[in-house]
């Protein structure tokens, strides 16, 4: 490795040191720790964290798995922006000759369990609630043929890896965790657009609610940070068009 050095500030939170936390002042257990990490052109944020854990401080906790931006486990806030640790490189944070500086924090808007690990349950509940799977006649005897045009309609939205970066980017989710949120709505939209699916009527009631698509104000930062180019903001706002149509139909048919 070259003699390039990066100063990595990592946010730590160790709940077991929470013994006199009757006051619930968790902030007392949250602190920043500084590490010197060697880096070259190919060192990712995840490589840096693994270097810290193996060489400097084995007590540091963080999630990771595939190292190739497909498992969606290693989301962190890097200088305040949600990033996948394996897809972001230290070379982008060079401040001077042979030097770089950056701050790594757990994903925003989620409850921190330990160091850089967050509880993703809120996101997973929303994801479950939109029923992101094919509904209708999916028996194995039926061949579900699809034309390239039918595939093109939803393909972009099917690239989601559930990393949760969009939830950390979304101020509406930060202010109101009941908001179904960009990732889950993008997946609901993906299945609504699928020609093989018959479940749209079951998904729309949740999306029609205030905490569904209408909590979105098209800030659009979710789409900026998405590592897979899903453009969840587009999905949510296309969902508003669908929701408006669905509500009009309800008005005239009187059904729910």
């Amino acid at each position: 490795m070259s003699d390039n050095k990066c100063t990595v500030m990592v946010q730590r939170y160790l709940p077991e040191s929470d013994s006199h936390a009757e006051t619930s002042h968790h902030a007392a257990q949250v602190f920043m720790q500084s590490f010197e990490v060697p880096f070259d052109e190919s060192t990712s944020i995840l490589d840096a964290l693994n270097y810290i854990k193996e060489e400097l401080d084995p007590s540091l906790s963080f999630r990771w798995s595939c190292r190739m931006a497909i498992c969606g486990s290693c989301g962190f806030m890097v200088n305040g922006i949600p990033k996948l640790g394996c897809k972001e490189f230290l070379r982008n944070y060079v401040t001077g000759q042979n030097k770089a500086e950056l701050t790594i924090e757990p994903l925003a808007h989620f409850t921190v369990e330990r160091d850089l690990m967050v509880n993703m349950d809120e996101f997973l509940h929303h994801l479950e609630a939109v029923q992101p799977f094919l509904m209708g006649d999916t028996s194995a005897t039926i061949v579900n043929k699809q034309t390239p045009a039918q595939l093109a309609k939803y393909k972009q939205f099917s690239n989601c890896i559930n990393c949760g970066l969009c939830y950390s980017a979304c101020p509406q989710f930060g202010l109101n965790p009941e908001f179904v949120g960009p990732g889950a709505i993008a997946l609901a939209h993906r299945y609504n657009l699928d020609s093989r699916d018959k479940g749209k009527a079951k998904r729309m009631p949740l999306l029609n609610e205030h905490n569904g698509v209408w909590s979105c104000t098209f800030v659009g930062f979710c789409s900026e940070v998405c590592p897979k180019g899903v453009d969840p903001a587009a999905a949510v706002n296309q969902g508003k068009v669908e929701s408006a149509k669905s509500m009009l139909i309800q008005m005239f048919t009187g059904g729910n």
């Binding site: 939170y13 709940p15 968790h26 902030a27 257990q29 949250v30 305040g80 922006i81 925003a108 808007h109 989620f110 409850t111 921190v112 369990e113 330990r114 509880n119 034309t147 390239p148 045009a149 595939l151 093109a152 309609k153 101020p171 930060g174 202010l175 104000t217 098209f218 800030v219 659009g220 930062f221 900026e224 453009d231 903001a233 587009a234 706002n237 296309q238 508003k240 068009v241």
Partner: protein, 133 residues
């Protein structure tokens, strides 16, 4: 439900000051303020048409430098809002031909052409009736 362990950082009111992306978003939302001014003045003007004394007073108000500056600001705000709206529109209403997507630049250009056409229509209408006086 089990009490959630860990801690959560609350989002404060100044969240949008932390990133230029959020500041641009807030600027887009704030364009409503000069537009509210323009629309209220316009509404007062329409009602003042009922009385010639009031209408003359309204015309004097419109010639006031501060009102002119506010209206120029409202025009700039309207253009900025239109710009952001037109950029977002192709993502909300994508137009497809089979498996091909109509390029976003076509839709954005189409919207600006519509703005020019409608504005030209109104300007020629005003010139026509203004000239008849």
């Amino acid at each position: 439900m089990e009490q959630q362990k860990g801690y959560k950082q609350e989002l404060r009111g100044n969240w949008w000051l932390k990133h230029t992306f959020f500041k641009r978003y807030m600027l887009r939302e704030a364009t409503v303020l000069p537009l509210v001014f323009f629309l209220s003045v316009m509404l007062v003007g329409v009602f003042s048409l009922l009385d010639s004394v009031q209408f003359e007073a309204w015309q004097r108000l419109m010639a006031h430098p501060i009102v002119i500056v506010m209206n120029i600001l409202a025009l700039i705000a309207a253009f900025y809002h239109a710009f952001t709206f037109f950029e977002l529109f192709p993502r909300v209403m994508p137009i497809r031909f089979g498996d091909k997507l109509l390029p976003a630049s076509f839709i954005v250009a189409g919207q600006w052409i519509a703005v020019v056409a409608v504005s030209a229509g109104f300007i020629s209408l005003f010139l026509h009736f203004g000239g008849a006086q």
